[in-house]
Amino acid sequence: MFIKRWTGRLILLMAVVACMSSLAHAQATADEAMFVVNNTWMMVATFLVFIMHLGFACLESGLVQAKNTVNILFKNIMIVAIGLLTYAIIGFNLMYPGEFNGWLGLGGDKVLTTAADAAGTLIGYADGNYTYWTDFLFQGMFAATGATIVSGAVAGRIKLPSFLVFTVVFVGFVYPWVGSWKWGGGWLDQMGFYDFAGSTLVHSVGGWGALAGALLLGPRLGKYYGNEVRALPGSNMPLATIGVFLLWMGWFGFNGGSVLSADPGPVSFTLVTTCLAAAAGIVASYMTSQIVQKKPDLSMALNGALAGLVGITAGADSVSVMSAVIIGLVAGVLVVLAVITIDSKLKIDDPVGAISVHLVCGMWGTLAVGIFSADHSVVTQLIGIAAYGVVTFISALVIFSVIKAVMGLRVSADEEQKGLDIGEHGMEAYSGFQILTTD
């Protein structure tokens, strides 16, 4: 800190000397100031996206059974680690390649070997909006979310190592590869497909992975008993609620940061559409749950908030406030119906409702951009949705199948009954607490 102040003084001295054309200097300083504030905002946005990982950890561990809590927590902490490392080693370059044919590319500086004082830290890197390092970290935090979405849907039955291998491949290759089509300036981008902050690129992509996993694994034991559908209630609702609030908090950075500068107008507008869509999602899911289930289900209201957030993500900057509210309302209704349909009709066991929230509402949100924004076409949006759907779903199926063949995917029935916490980790989440599952 001492040293720092010293250099500080030096800089000032130089400044004084350099101050002949104070115009030029003023100019430079002003742009510099703008660079610093933009970068500061992007760092704050990065922190907010980071906290989403805690949000997912809380939501998922709150909605699984007590006996599988340690396992889901372990997955969530590993995902952040694996996500950041693989993104540093390969993902970042794959997603934002230097030279790029629009389909698949790899270029640009390597994160691990770039020097601290490289050009990336200068004002020129991104028109004074942020540095190379901020860019990487913000994108890296995004990347890992895809895999987290999957973890919720496969909870309670997947083998830990198998899931971790999936994460490496999914975050390391699939996510950045398909992401590059749009955010890397690839073919979908050139086609005019629009996805502001990732209703499709992040959430649907994760959702497709979740669907593939849930299908290949099959339901948890005791979930479906002949024709009867059993509820396996979440074990810690306060935890799940904390998760949703933190995810909402994170979305301020997820959407607000996707403006890629601190430009007051667009950023603050984005935050407003984001919040009102979430609010609308809650109200709509409450109403729907009240009507369909007679009594309002907290887990549905929580999913409703996320539904609104996922839904607005694609168009947060480009639809009107009123449209944002409508998008949120529709998402809130959709998510409740989706959860019930997937769980009771399609009999796909998705413990946390990841498919309904991220896939269904992700598709809705992407489509909504075409509907509510004059500048974008429904057709192109549909093409994008389809392209991501086909490619991601198939990729995920392939990855899971290979893992299944090589190392197996599902734990033994006995381990599942005892719980993955004891089976995979040899420990309990709530040691000493008396827990009795009566059915």
């Binding site: 209630p233 289930q293 007679k294 549905m300 959860v339 019930i340 769980d343 009771s344 009795l436």
Partner: protein, 113 residues
Amino acid sequence: MKLVVALIQPHKLPDVKQALFDADIHKMTVSNAVGAGEQKGYEEAYRGVIHTINLLKKVKIEIAVNDDFVEPTVEAIIKGARTGNIGDGKVFVLDLPDSIRIRTGERGSAAIG
């Protein structure tokens, strides 16, 4: 000696305790359980799945008493727990051939109180 086992509605525990104290029965063991009886369960709905909870929360009270104390004990429990509604619960009376106070090693009736 007898071991009186009562299963009551959780929220009646304070009243039953009171009634027992009034009847000057101060020793007991309490634990929780879930039970099925005449009282039909209620429905819970979690994420759209309706499931009937037919095992309802109950409180279990165990009291070891000398034979002449059985009636007062049972009456006290009934006094405290009865509402006249289904779900009030049951009292089971078991034979208790022997009882030991760990602290002193006393046995039989002496150890009960």
